[in-house]
Structures are given as C-alpha cells and as structure tokens.
Amino acid sequence: MPLSLSLPASAGTRERAVARPPLPPLRGALRERLTFLAFVAPNLSLLAVFSYWPLVQNVWLSFVEWNMIAPEQLWVGLENWAIVLSGADFRQIALNTLLFTLFSVGLTLALGLSCALLLNQPLAGRNAARAVLFTPTLLPGSAIALVWIYMLDPRWGLIRTVLSWVGIASPRWLIDPAWALPAVILVYVWKAVGYSVVIFLAGLQGIPRELYEAARVDGAGPWDRFRAVTLPGLGPISFFLLVTSLLSAIQAFDILRVMTAGGPVIATTTLVYQLYNEGFVAFNAGRAAVYSLLLFGVMLALTAAQLRFVERRVTYS
C-alpha cells in the first residue's frame, strides 16, 4: 500500500502547506484582499454602473434644466427642488402615494392572511381555490387594468350589474376623483393578494403542530391559538411580506398608467407616476430627478424604519 494512501487527509494538506514557503503577513493580507475583490468585482461593477452611477447622476440632474435631448444642461441650483416642493400639486401627490401604499399593503396583507387561514383548512376544492387566487399575480398588470376598465364601466360593467342587484348605483369609478383612487387600489389588491396568500400559506405550514396541540392542552381557544401561536409563528413571513409589499406598492405604475393615467385631474398621481410625467411626458429631467430622489429617500427611510422597529419584534425560531 503506498504510503500516501495510509496518511489521513489532514496530514496531506499539512504536507502541501509545509512544502509551500509561508507568505509574509503583509503579502498574505494583500492576496486575501485581492481574492475578495475578484469575487465581488463582477457584481460590484454591475451595481456601480447600473445603480450607483445613475444615482449620482440623478443628484446632478436634480440641479440642472435639461429636456433630455439638448446638448447642454443648464445649472439652476435648487430651482427644481423649489418648484417641486412648493408646487400646488405636491401635497396631493404625496397624500395619494401615502393612501395608495397604506391601503393596498394593508388590504393585501389582511386579505392574504384571511384567505391563507381559510385555505389552510382541509376544505374541498382548496387546491383549485389556491390556483384561482394566485393566477392574477402571474398576469401582466396592463392586461388586468384593461379588463378592469370594462368591469368598472358605470354603464355596462360587471361591477355595475352586481351593485344593481342590491340596489346600489355604480359610482363613476375612473372619472370621479373621489372614486378613482379606491378603484385602482381595488385592482392592485386583487392582483397582489394571491402572492401573499401563497407566502402566508407556506408560513402557516411551517408552524409546528405540537405548538397548537400544547395550546389546546392548556385550554386555549381558537382566538388564543391564533394570537399566541399563529401570529408569532408568522412573524418572519409577515415581515418579509411587509417589506416587499411596501416597496412594490410605492413603485406601482402599470395599473395606474393604463387605468387612469394619473387622473382624473391628479386624483391617482403618485410619486412614481409624477416622476414619469415629469420625465417622459414633460421631458423635464431635472424635476423628474427630484421626484426620483424623493422616492429613493422615502424607500430608504421605510426600509430603515422597518429594520429598526419591526424586525426587532420578529422571532425567527
């Protein structure tokens, strides 16, 4: 039997390490850093080119007047910021963004959890119901929006017919400024709820049965079991859904673009939609950059707040 085969693996490694002269500490550290750099460089360079550089450029654009084709960009200082922040529409746009985000996320999570709890029961046809609930998530937002425009039509839409069965006159959903925002929230929730159902279901099935049994033995009723076992067990999943739903809702565009184009007047114009308006309708790169940075700030603050205040309360095991 050759000698090498009788040696333990660690001995061989040690032998090879011994054969190589040790590197001076400084060179070793450099080599380690270079290796690290080689691993992160491809991703980092892509992020630098496609994320960080545009961000820096965006800051620059917020201080210039530029229509996206002119050869020169005119430095205007804080004028774009002043126009945006002091504009008559800004408050309304900020409020629309807040309402749209709060209601769409709140309803998506509440309905998602309710449906998930229902579909977690051994009911007949629950697999079909899960598929039906999840399907809208897979459909393109613009296609959904087009279908809902017809469904919400106050003269011959499906919703009008349903409302007429209970004697309610259909609102002029997409024309009346009071109803347009609820209408787009409704459609957004309809599209997004299936995804949260699936994630909540996965979370529910990950909660150990023994915990429920132990709670039952202790005399806990359905509400106590939900409060003391289900909700804490869903903590990490809920946190994940809250973060992703908030970021998605605040960036919602397709449904708004197709259903209302930000109107009537500015009833459904959100920060993202106004960014599009300024950038690609008015071709005002400076003001679009201001909206873009405001959006970035809001998202950064939301994520930081979630990590700071919400994640602390989440139990991972």
Binding site: A38, A41, P42, S45, L46, V49, E65, N67, M68, I69, A70, P71, L74, I83, A88, I149, D153, R155, L174, I175, D176, P177, A261, G263, P264, V265, I266, N277, F280, V281, A282, F283, N284
Partner: protein, 441 residues
C-alpha cells in the same frame, strides 16, 4: 484544475465582465439606426417611425407597401411606435442612444421640441432635389412647419376638430340635419329636445387631457374672443375672455348638457353621447363603427364668432440621417404627401394636404358620396394655426388639459385655475424663448 491557474481564471472572468461594460460605455458616431439604411438589392433602405394603429395604421401600411412596390430606389421600413406621445418618448431615447430612425411622424405638439434642439433637418434642399412643388401644399398647413424661412415639418395627417352628431337622435328630436350654428342654439334650443334620449341627460362628451381636450378647447377660447397666448409666448389664457370660455365649459357640466367622458369616441360611437367635438382623423373608421348615421358640421360659433384650429401630424427627417438616406426619405415623403395624398385622406378622414388632391377627380368623386369628409375641407378655409402655448411650450397641451379637467371634472371656477395654468405655462415657456433667441441670433 488542469492547465488553468486561479490567476488565469480570475483574469478571464474579469475580462469577460469588462468587455460588455466597456462596450456600453463606448461612444458611437451620431448616425441613424445601425442596420437600417443599408442598400438592399439596389434599393436604399430607410427607417420610418409611425404612430397609427388600427384602421389608420392599416391605411398607412398600405401606402408604404404601394410606395415600395412602385419604384426601385427606396425601401421604407415602417416601424409603428405607439401614440404620438409614445413616438416622441422613443425618439428622445433613441437620440440619446444614437439609434434614431431616418425620419419620423411627429404631431403638432412634438415636432417643435426636436426642431428647437436642432435634431431636425431643414428639408428645402431635399425638396428641391426631389422637385416637389411646395406651392401645391395647402398653404396654411405648409406654413406651420416653416421656421426662419426653412421647412422642417411637412404636412401628412392633418386634421381639424369637427362637430359630430348622431343623425338618428337629431331626427327623433325633430331637429334639422345639420350642426348648431351657435353654442346657444345647441344648449338653449336643441338640448331640451335631445336630453330625453340619454341615460343621464347629458348629450355632449368632453374628452380627458390625455385625449387632447386642450386641442378641442383651442377653438372654443377663440370663439369667446380669448387665446392661450400670442405668437411671442405672452400667456393670455387667464385674461377675461379666456375665463369666460372656461366658465362656459364649467357650466356645460353644471347645467347638465355635457359630461366628462372616459372615452368620448367610444361613447359617441355607441350612442351614449349624442354629440362631441372630435378630430377629422378617424372619421372613416367612425362612420363604419357607429351604430347610426354620423353627421359632421363646422364647430358652433361663440359670442366672438367662429374659431377652429388645425392639428394632426407631419413628417420630419432627423438631422442625424446621412445625406443619401435623407434624400431617399424625401422621396417617400413626396409620395406619401403627394401621389398618395388623396388615397390617404379617403382611407382615414384626414384632410388632403395638397391642393391638387382636393380638386382632383379621385377625391371629388369620393366626396360626392361621402359628404362628411368635405366638411373638414370646407372648414379648412376658416381655420388657423394653434396658439404657441399649446404647441410650442413643452407639455403645454397637458398643462392646459389638466386645467380643463379641474374645470369640467372638479367644477372649479375658471379664474383661479387659469391663473395656475398661466403660471405654469410662463415658467415652461422661458427655456423655449431663450432657445429661440439663440437660434434667431
């Protein structure tokens, strides 16, 4: 790992990552779309960006096909880009990416933006080389694309607003088969006879800002003696006559004879609205789609008389197009706006842009059996170009349009709305005035 060291592996990975990045950062010459513009089978290929879909798109495709088949020098590669706004967005992006087409259809509110930043080619030498008779173009339409004595935008799909009405509803109400001569005639004499025929009593559909309500209101503000602005970009929309016109629109909804529609064209075609102001473009499709005989008339007069504007789109060649392709593009423009002018008008409803097409046997014969198409041609003698605030001020159309939505949908008083609109228009007009001064200097 045979034959490849860690150093070599990382080196190769690095190089692979760097190549596309460097390629993306590299500069290209400011030429038109690469890959187009090549000479195929002896024909000069040019790229043309268009904005028409549906029946209008088919009609335009038909003209492209007939042009490509009719001669052996130029091959037009027609590329549909979406609405006028989509086309302008994509053209802006393409100019940044240096992948612009050779030529594009541009609407009345968009061509000036590209002219102002010197992205359009003056067409006069090309017109001369192609021996196009500019005197044959309808003068009013040709003049709109001329700046400082040079032509940048040639008329193609030009339109005016028309007063459309449902002939069946008119007959049922015992009204004469014509449009109202004045708004008073419509609202005070005819509306009481018509209102019983609609669900909510409103007979007239206002479009949204996105459907160009500011274009349709241009004639109305003139009918009241006001204007959006003068030719020197002095904003006048908030002056008393403009306020009066705005209040007229507010009362139209308040008094119940008009309503803000989500889709005014669909509402008219399906009989929900009995009348609306809409473009001549699409007239042919509207006559086919409506469930009733369609009537057209001149716009009604207001207290200050008649007022109606031109609109629609024309063709421009990009300044980045190489000379031989620019000349080839002009050959196509000459065909589309000349030989095919009557065919295009008869298929679409847009006005013939050539005098010879208007008086030619083909169009004259067609107009005999389709009197609606003649309404636009007859009205053309009375129309005038739009005010600079809508067509030359960036986003002017939408600024005014959103103001009109506040008036018709929110029911806000016209005076404060027009003051806000005037402030926005003044601010947006500043860069234009500055650039025009530089161009004229």
């Amino acid at each position: 790992m045979n034959g490849t060291t860690k150093r070599q592996l990382f080196g190769r990975l690095g190089a692979a990552a760097a190549v596309p990045l460097l390629a993306a950062c590299g500069t290209q010459p400011p030429s038109a779309t690469e890959g187009s513009g090549t000479k195929t089978a002896g024909k000069q290929k040019i790229t043309y960006w268009g904005s028409f879909s549906g029946a209008l798109g088919q009609a335009e495709q038909g003209i492209v096909s007939s042009f490509n088949a009719a001669q052996n020098e130029v091959e037009v590669d027609y590329q549909f880009q979406g609405s006028y706004e989509d086309t302008a967005q994509k053209l802006t992006a393409a100019l940044q990416a240096r992948t612009a087409p050779d030529m594009s259809l541009l609407s009345d509110v968009w061509w000036f933006k590209f002219y102002l930043d010197k992205m359009l080619m003056p067409l006069d030498d090309l017109i001369k080389a192609e021996k196009v008779q500019t005197s044959d173009y309808v003068d009013a339409l040709l003049k709109e694309g001329v700046r400082n004595g040079k032509t940048y935008w040639l008329p193609f799909a030009r339109s005016t607003p028309l007063f459309y009405y449902n002939k069946d509803a008119w007959a049922k109400a015992g009204l004469p088969d014509r449009g109202p001569r004045t708004w008073d005639e419509l609202t005070k004499e005819w509306y009481p006879k018509l209102k019983g025929q609609t669900q909510n009593g409103a007979i007239f559909a206002h479009p949204s800002a996105a459907s160009y309500i500011a274009w349709l209101f241009q004639g109305v503000i003139w009918q009241f003696g006001g204007e959006y602005s003068d030719a020197d970009f002095t904003i006048k929309i908030h002056e008393p006559k403009g306020v009066q016109a705005g209040e007229f629109y507010r009362s139209s909804v308040k008094d119940g004879w008009a309503y803000a529609a989500k889709d005014e064209s669909g509402d008219f075609n399906s009989g929900v609205a009995l009348t609306a102001m809409m473009s001549t473009g699409g007239l042919v499709a509207r006559q086919q789609n409506a469930k009733f005989p369609v009537g057209t008339a001149f716009l009604p007069e207001g207290p200050a008389g008649f007022g109606c504007c031109t609109g629609g789109a024309g063709m421009s060649i990009l300044a980045s197009a190489p000379k031989e392709r620019a000349q080839a593009a002009m050959k196509w423009i000459a065909y589309a706006t000349g030989t095919a002018a009557a065919t295009w008008s008869m298929a679409s409803g847009y006005m013939p842009v050539r005098k010879s097409a208007v008086s030619g046997p083909q169009f004259t014969e067609f107009a005999k059996t389709n009197p609606n198409i003649k309404t636009a041609v007859d009205q053309l003698a009375k129309v005038r170009p739009q005010d600079s605030a809508r067509v030359f001020v960036p986003n002017g159309d939408q600024i005014i349009g959103k103001g009109l939505e506040r008036i018709t949908i929110n029911g806000e008083a016209a005076e404060p709305v027009w003051k806000d609109v005037a402030d926005s228009l003044k601010r947006e007009a500043d860069p234009v005035v500055r650039k025009l001064r530089a161009l004229n200097a």
